[in-house]
Symmetry: C2
Subunit: 131 residues, 2 copies
Amino acid sequence: MTDHEVLSTWRELSARHAAIVSDLERELQERHELGVSEFEVLDRLVDGVCLSADGKFRVQELAAGVHLSQSALSRLIARLEKAGFVLRSMCADDRRGVFVTLTDAGRVRHSEALPTQRRVLRAHLAATPQG
Amino acid sequence: MTDHEVLSTWRELSARHAAIVSDLERELQERHELGVSEFEVLDRLVDGVCLSADGKFRVQELAAGVHLSQSALSRLIARLEKAGFVLRSMCADDRRGVFVTLTDAGRVRHSEALPTQRRVLRAHLAATPQG
DNA sequence: ACGCATTAAATGCTTGTGCATTGAATGCAT
DNA sequence: ATGCATTCAATGCACAAGCATTTAATGCGT
């Protein structure tokens, strides 16, 4: 692969990412008052309910898949808690850790926003060359 | 393309983008004291020198290709000017517009940083499935 | 049991970003 | 020429992100 090919691949990737994030941000914000990262975290929590015994997650476990720093994630969860979408609770076995659990309101909001996300992603990614 | 495929494509794209940007940011910062967006703007200026008669660019022209808002770009250029890498000058024919030109220092810094960028991009993008 | 390095998460601080607004210059219609 | 909508770039403001630090809890070695 030549440098020129690498570069154009990178620009393509970058442009595509920017376009999708921008659309997602606008749509999720306007329709559901959710940021992209906020949605992503709710999404992970929903996804993972089946995996985890009780639907509880260490903050750390959420970090995987959400491309944010530890501090950003901490504050993001604080925002979600303030909005009533998640609860934070101490975990008994390791009292440094914090469990994050979805509330009903969080589940509802996520299920409302999910079709919006799917629609935007489909519009950008379905049936395209690199799709 | 199924929703599940769309979703996994998106996660792949997102993860890859995050990894590359993170690496680029660190390498460019550590080695050349440049942010990714700063480098990108210098890169556009260098690229475009051959295209433009005198190597002058309207701020607006730079916006294409750099995925930033108008205000972010304005401040970014202000930072580059403060660092001595570009000059801003009024353009005579439309005095609302601003011409941005590379300085020698800007050209030097860009040429120093270019191999670093190439190396990081190659490491991530060369010889990979979705390359 | 005690000290010490380590880990989890929160927080202070600085910086970059976007939105909305502003200020200035332009162009067009009347 | 005058008024008015439009465009370019800069700026006020609010907010989210990362880095470094802090606080608290763990675990390990002696």
